[in-house]
């Protein structure tokens, strides 16, 4: 009888120890419902008897789960407790108690979502707006994030380059004529030919150089009567050497 009374007191102590998860932890701190409730009863606990109050975890589970959900944590889907080969009734009782606490927590998960869904909706709205703004900024970036564009070639630059090319090629021919007293048979004979320039010789005095613009329009340098545009280039490009 004395032993049975001790067991009864021990059982109540075990119950009190488990029921602390409903309120304050033994050390006065907040219990971790997700882990404490799933643990077997304390080693000093004894077999639960019929009529003993079940562990009350609802309020604490809700509080813990609310905090966990607000932090973005999710309860694990399942929990396995290994009892080992030597399973006693006491161990099974502890497992049942832990399972009941776990079930209450799982139920609590379904009581919380209303607020969670509301928070998730707000978060999704803010995220969607942010993504929309980001895409708009990506498509039409503001000037503050766009650096100065690099220089670009104009059609005038291209035409001037073409004319200078013809002028310099003509200078190669004139230099050949000065030294050889005749026109070269080909541009290669004059040396340093420019790509894309055609050479048309008329006798031994007059020649034409032809190059083509990107649109296919020809630009012609006639040694007998150069176009006025070449005169300006001669003054700006060849004046250091011809004293013009």
């Amino acid at each position: 009888m004395a032993r049975k009374r001790r067991q009864s007191r021990g059982s109540k102590r075990a119950h009190a120890g488990e029921s602390r998860t409903d309120g304050e932890a033994p050390d006065g701190g907040r219990p971790d419902a997700g882990t404490e409730a799933a643990k077997p009863a304390q080693p000093d606990g004894e077999r639960l008897r019929a009529g003993d109050p079940r562990p009350k975890l609802s309020a604490d589970a809700l509080l813990a789960l609310s905090e966990m959900r607000s932090q973005g944590f999710v309860m694990p889907g399942e929990r396995v407790v290994e009892l080992g080969a030597n399973t006693s009734d006491q161990d099974r009782d502890r497992l049942i108690a832990a399972t009941m606490a776990q079930v209450e927590m799982q139920e609590a998960i379904y009581r919380v979502p209303a607020a969670v869904r509301r928070d998730t909706g707000i978060k999704a709205g803010v995220a969607g707006t942010l993504l929309f703004v980001a895409l708009m900024v990506g498509v039409w970036p503001p000037g503050i994030v766009v650096p100065d564009p690099p220089s670009t070639l104009t059609e005038r630059d291209a035409l001037t380059g073409l004319r200078v090319t013809l002028l310099l090629q003509a200078q190669q021919i004139e230099a050949f004529r000065v030294t050889e007293d005749r026109l070269p048979v080909s541009l290669e004979e004059a040396g340093a030919p420019f790509d894309g320039v055609r050479y048309l010789r008329s006798g031994n005095r007059v020649y034409q150089l032809v190059a083509y613009r990107p649109d296919g329009e020809p630009v012609i340098f006639d040694s007998a009567a150069p176009a006025p545009e070449f005169d300006a280039l001669v003054r700006s490009w060849l004046s250091p050497w011809n004293g013009a």
């Binding site: 944590f73 995220a127 220089s151 070639l153 340093a192 250091p240």
Partner: protein, 178 residues
């Protein structure tokens, strides 16, 4: 074990962050990379110009013209290797050109009586002379780089044709030099 699940909202926030970072940082990085390319090209042109002048001062003639990317033999001590003038994004070429200049003929002894001055209306005779020039050609498919080189030296001293930018190299003061 507690796990954190990535929600659709989290994904959107991450995507927005990537887009914003890409929009704000990407163009700046590209601009910086392009500026670096331009500065390297300018430095390469100036270096080749300096070495060509040194070679001319030593040998009395411009270095031999070569194909794009190849260094003239006279500059082999400076530019080693077969592709010494090939760089990421561009290649340099050294070529030689000739221009005709007209020089005044040396004054001849007047055929008149001693003490007679030549008539002022008689123009001095000009004789043509060939003057060799050097040219540095930058080859690049990057038209922005060509445009930057043209803007840096000006359209009066250099020109762009197709995928090349060319500048003439003289030696006398007042001549266009890089």
């Amino acid at each position: 074990m507690i796990r954190r699940r990535l929600t659709a909202a989290d994904s959107m926030v991450v995507m927005a962050a990537f887009v914003l970072v890409g929009v704000s940082v990407g163009p700046t990085l590209r601009a910086l990379a392009f500026r670096g390319l331009v500065e390297r090209a300018v430095a390469g042109v100036e270096a080749l110009h300096g070495h060509a002048l040194d070679a001319r001062a030593r040998g009395g003639a411009w270095p031999t013209a070569t194909r794009a990317g190849l260094a003239p033999p006279e500059l082999g001590g400076v530019y080693a290797g077969d592709s010494a003038l090939t760089f990421p994004g561009y290649a340099l070429e050294w070529r030689t050109l000739s221009v005709v200049e007209f020089l005044e003929a040396p004054a001849t002894t007047p055929s008149g009586l001693p003490g007679d001055a030549p008539p002022a209306s008689v123009a001095r005779e000009m004789i043509p002379s060939v003057r060799p020039l050097g040219a540095i050609v930058l080859h690049s498919s990057n038209t922005s780089l060509l445009a930057e080189m043209l803007a840096r030296w000006g359209p009066g001293a250099s020109f762009v044709r197709d995928t090349t930018w060319t500048i003439l190299v003289g030696q006398e003061p007042g001549e266009p030099t890089p």
